[in-house]
């Protein structure tokens, strides 16, 4: 149009949103309150979830940068944090501090694999000083994957390393490592709790397999019994092997230990064990070379027996052995065996108990992690509920404004008719019409209020629910009650205790307490789960409503747009 360009006139520019909002407020149309500063209770969880969420791209090898170069418009809200972190857990380097189970399973470091207690400095319990929960507050899922999954499979799958792997499977395994030259009887008689002391020392930080209690288990009598034939060379000093092989040597040493106790049993293997005392003459080797029969030698040639079996002990001056002597020796042998068996059983009880303590601790820790994860999930649900509320309020606002827009479009359409078709309403019914219009406005206002109330009520409900679950029972422990409890526990535990000492009591107490705590936590977990289920159900409904409303809005707006285009 020439005039347009000539006069340089054009319609006024669009109002800025602020001006527009002011105008709308002047006309009494509800607008969004931008200065709304309502406190969001779960905002921190929202931030947390946002930090955790990361975009995931699927790319063939070589194209990894392609997807990332495109700025991701929408981050995938439905992606779970666990996915990416699990991926990390598999990819991560097995470092000794942050100890990765999956990688560890593959690598066959015999000292670490055979050493559950030695690895403790950098496993769950060792980690506890560095506080898994402190870490968890910033990052529950990563620590979950590195800790919980980290420890559990190491407990299960790397079988030889675990407290669960019982000594019997280890003992039956033919491949007792050559490293553990520690002869159980060579160590044990000198220190009946050698295994135990090595346990404590290995928890102190040394991961040496020789100090490992389970390495002792490996060379224990069961392994000797089952796999004495394929025991590697350093294990030859195993007493059972030597005992069978050197039955004939026993008469020389045994008669001196008339009554059998730890000191003498300590002395006996020392004499017999070539590895422990190098200056001692290698008794077994020669005996195996000769392979002599005891009985035959007794009956046939005492002198020959003396010369053959006690060749290596020239200071032994006893030359004769009666049949009663031999019998007594056999009895003592049996007694010694029995004593050793009792010792073994005791040690096994101890091991079992220790592994029970460890597993209850493990359970407790995992339960706590699960609770933490549940709490976080619920918090995130709370944040999402707030977001949903936000969406709902905006939708309500849209509805109201759309209604106004509807009215305006209809009015415009009415006014935009032919100039000659003058619209004049009936002047006689004007009052009634005014009244009706007021009534309609009031009803609409009430309707809107109701809608808002419902929206807020939903938020309030879900907030209450989540807060109730999050502030779950925090039980207080008073010491007196605890002491009585301790007494009761010990009383109860008497049945499972054999020659209980202080340490044993402590272990029993810890098992019981851990079980109690796990029970409490599981109760709380259940409540968390139920609350989460309710919340999800409620949110499901809300999401459904939002979906329908959005659809309706879309349709209405589309209708208005087409109506507008018809106006010309």
């Amino acid at each position: 149009m020439g005039i347009k360009r000539f006069f340089k006139i054009k319609p006024p520019e669009e109002d800025t949103p602020e001006v527009n909002r002011d105008n709308l407020i002047e006309q009494g149309i509800p607008t969004k309150n931008v200065n709304r500063t309502k406190k969001e209770k779960f905002a921190a969880y929202g931030k947390f979830a946002k930090d955790k969420a990361e975009d995931k791209f699927y790319a063939p090898p070589g194209y990894e940068n392609f997807g990332k170069s495109n700025p991701p418009v929408l981050d995938d809200l439905n992606k779970s944090e666990v996915d990416s972190d699990a991926g990390n857990a598999y990819m991560r380097e097995p470092s000794k501090n942050d100890f990765d189970p999956y990688a560890r399973n593959n690598f066959t470091n015999s000292s670490a694999a055979a050493d559950p207690y030695g690895k403790q400095p950098y496993d769950p319990y060792g980690k506890q000083p560095s506080d898994p929960y402190g870490k968890q507050s910033s990052d529950p899922y990563s620590s979950y994957s590195s800790n919980a999954y980290g420890n559990q499979p190491s407990g299960r799958s790397s079988g030889s390393a675990t407290p669960y792997a019982d000594p019997y499977t280890q003992g039956r395994g033919p491949s007792a490592p050559a490293l553990n030259a520690g002869n159980p009887y060579g160590q044990r008689p000198g220190n009946p709790y050698a295994g135990h002391s090595s346990f404590s020392s290995s928890t102190a930080g040394s991961a040496q397999p020789s100090q490992n209690p389970y390495s002792m288990m490996k060379s224990d009598p069961y392994s000797a019994g089952a796999s004495s034939t394929n025991v590697p060379a350093p294990q030859k000093p195993n007493p059972y092997v030597s005992r069978e092989a050197s039955r004939s040597s026993r008469p020389s040493a045994a008669p001196e230990d008339d009554q059998f106790d730890f000191e003498t049993s300590a002395a006996a293997p020392k004499i017999r064990n070539p590895d422990l005392n190098d200056d001692e003459i290698d008794l077994n080797a020669t005996l195996q070379d000769e392979g002599d029969d005891l009985n035959g030698s007794i009956h046939e040639n005492y002198a020959g027996e003396l010369g053959q079996t006690q060749l290596q002990q020239p200071d032994d001056t006893r030359g004769y052995q009666t049949f009663e002597d031999v019998q007594r020796q056999n009895q003592e042998l049996q007694q010694q065996q029995e004593d050793e068996e009792v010792d073994e059983i005791k040690q096994q009880i101890r091991f079992t108990k220790q592994s029970s303590v460890a597993s209850t601790r493990n359970t407790l820790k995992m339960a706590q992690e699960a609770e933490m994860a549940g709490t976080n999930t619920l918090g995130m649900l709370g944040h999402q509920s707030e977001k949903l509320n936000n969406v709902e309020r905006n939708l309500d606002l849209m509805k109201m404004q759309n209604r106004v827009a509807d009215d305006r479009v209809a009015e415009l359409k009415k006014l935009n008719r032919n100039i000659l078709a003058v619209h004049v309403s009936n002047p006689f019914t004007s009052k009634r019409r005014l009244r009706e219009a007021e009534e309609r406005i009031r009803n609409q206002r009430i309707e809107d209020k109701l809608m808002q109330k419902q929206t807020n009520g939903r938020l309030h409900q879900s907030t209450n629910r989540i807060e109730g679950a999050l502030n779950g029972a925090s039980q207080d422990h008073d010491t007196i009650r605890q002491r009585y409890q301790n007494q009761a526990i010990l009383e109860k535990a008497k049945r499972y205790q054999f020659e209980n000492d202080e340490e044993d009591d402590e272990m029993e107490l810890e098992i019981d307490k851990n079980l109690d705590k796990v029970g409490q936590i599981s109760g709380r977990l259940k409540r968390l789960a139920i609350a989460a289920g309710d919340e999800i159900d409620a949110q499901q409904n809300r999401v459904q409503n939002i979906e329908e409303d959005t659809d309706n809005m879309d349709i209405k707006i589309h209708l208005n747009t087409t109506r507008l285009t018809q106006i010309r």
């Binding site: 006139i9 319609p11 006024p12 669009e14 929408l74 809200l77 439905n78 019982d166 000594p167 019997y168 003992g171 009598p221 069961y222 019994g225 068996e341 073994e344 059983i345 096994q348 009880i349 079992t352 827009a405 415009l412 935009n416 109860k492 049945r495 499972y496 079980l515 796990v518 029970g519 599981s522 109760g523 977990l525 259940k526 789960a529 139920i530 989460a532 289920g533 999800i536 159900d537 949110q539 499901q540 999401v543 459904q544 939002i546 979906e547 959005t550 659809d551 809005m553 879309d554 707006i557 589309h558 208005n560 747009t561 507008l564 285009t565 106006i567 010309r568």
Partner: protein
């Protein structure tokens, strides 16, 4: 040497303890696991729904944008119409005035 023999006297006792304490625990945990499994299903469903909401919100945004453009277009259109109307009115008034004034001026001059 049978491996299970040394433990025999302790196993029943151990079992009975477990049965009292851990059985309840296990039941509870199983319960919780069931609930959580349900929850996971629900969350998955909700995730689907949220995705569809995302789409719908996109559609809504697009159509709202369309409405805004349409409204703006109509506003400009109406403004022009208004201007034209005003010009017409002004012209008509001027013509009327001219029609009135010119004869008078001619008459008196």
């Amino acid at each position: 040497m049978s491996s299970s023999v040394p433990y025999d006297p302790y196993i029943p006792a151990e079992e009975s303890q477990s049965q009292t304490k851990t059985a309840a625990l296990k039941a509870e945990i199983d319960d919780t696991v069931g609930i959580m499994r349900d929850n996971i299903n629900k969350v998955a469903e909700r995730g689907e729904r949220l995705t569809s909401i995302e789409d719908k919100a996109d559609n809504l945004a697009v159509s709202a944008q369309g409405f805004k453009r349409g409204a703006n277009r109509v506003r400009k259109q109406m403004w022009w119409k208004d201007l034209k109307m005003r010009l017409c009115l002004v012209l008509a008034v001027i013509i009327l005035l001219v029609v009135i004034i010119v004869p008078i001026v001619v008459h008196f001059s």
